[in-house]
Symmetry: C2
Subunit: 200 residues, 2 copies
Amino acid sequence: MTAKVDFFYEFASTYSYPAAMRIDRVAEAAGVTVNWRPFLLGPIFAAAGMTTSPFNTQPAKGRYMWRDLERICQADRLALKRPDPFPQNSLLAARIAQALPDDGKRAAFSRAVYVAEFGEGADIAVPETLGRILEKLGIPAAPLIVQAGSDSVKQALRAAVDEAKAHGMFGAPNVVTSDGELFWGNDRLDAAIAWAARIG
Amino acid sequence: MTAKVDFFYEFASTYSYPAAMRIDRVAEAAGVTVNWRPFLLGPIFAAAGMTTSPFNTQPAKGRYMWRDLERICQADRLALKRPDPFPQNSLLAARIAQALPDDGKRAAFSRAVYVAEFGEGADIAVPETLGRILEKLGIPAAPLIVQAGSDSVKQALRAAVDEAKAHGMFGAPNVVTSDGELFWGNDRLDAAIAWAARIG
């Protein structure tokens, strides 16, 4: 049996960018399969009384994060361009990712969204940005954007948020192993994959 | 010339514990010298409108931190016992560390405080706990505790907090390299030492 992990990512989350770009590579090397699980931090932040990113409400933490992300992107050879506004409204991107099958298409779309948002500074709240990404991947954009607004997709995304809460998530990205162990942050990605490979 | 880093640590900070226990080892292997710089997060948190640890105000984050610290301590073969109350009042410990010369005594005292606090769950706000640690290190406790209350020590610690703020610190532990680069967290300790070794 192949070891599996759930990768919970939020499109507005900065550290989800380098994590999304490398998780399949790290997991594959360890013989671990990744379930790509888009979710939303907004409802979790709101329930904790937060109205925006802590990187905005705590200026010193925000300044540090951008510099830290710059170092990480440099080491990982990833482009970095700060999107405006930050954080981005990630709802439509998350619904489209949820609507796509998790057979490689969802991962490819998600990586392309992160590259557009944090590599090129594009606004991912704009349907045209997401439509262009889908078309580049050979996926007809219009029907998928319609499907992304369906009740079943909305419900699936809400269920993902509920699952994220139940796992104790409070930030992004996260990896959850099959025994329910939670690993938070791009910094814990390697430990999470090693854990998954060990428990099998 | 030997590369040097400033290690800014707060005795109440959980992740400062594993960092303090390994930084000299990691730095020595890279030919880097560590300046041990006790400081206080309290005034920095207060200036940001926070009255206690975010691990207390955000329960999910707190639960995750204790589990994460457990995994780290297990990997590093460090004992872990949660002190009560948390966070501990770290003022006297910080003043004593500041009063000690940074010639190995300050580092040895600081490590011993972390072991007592997070390895044994002792209350480090109690002078007896700190006195016992000093005596074990062969340092007469009474005169040092008097010296820790002197104006010069208080002022030196306040200056350390001002320096921490000027470097943009918002948490602990931190490593600052001689070119002013800030690295936050036990997770960035290795990157910080590698950076210091590279710039020389």
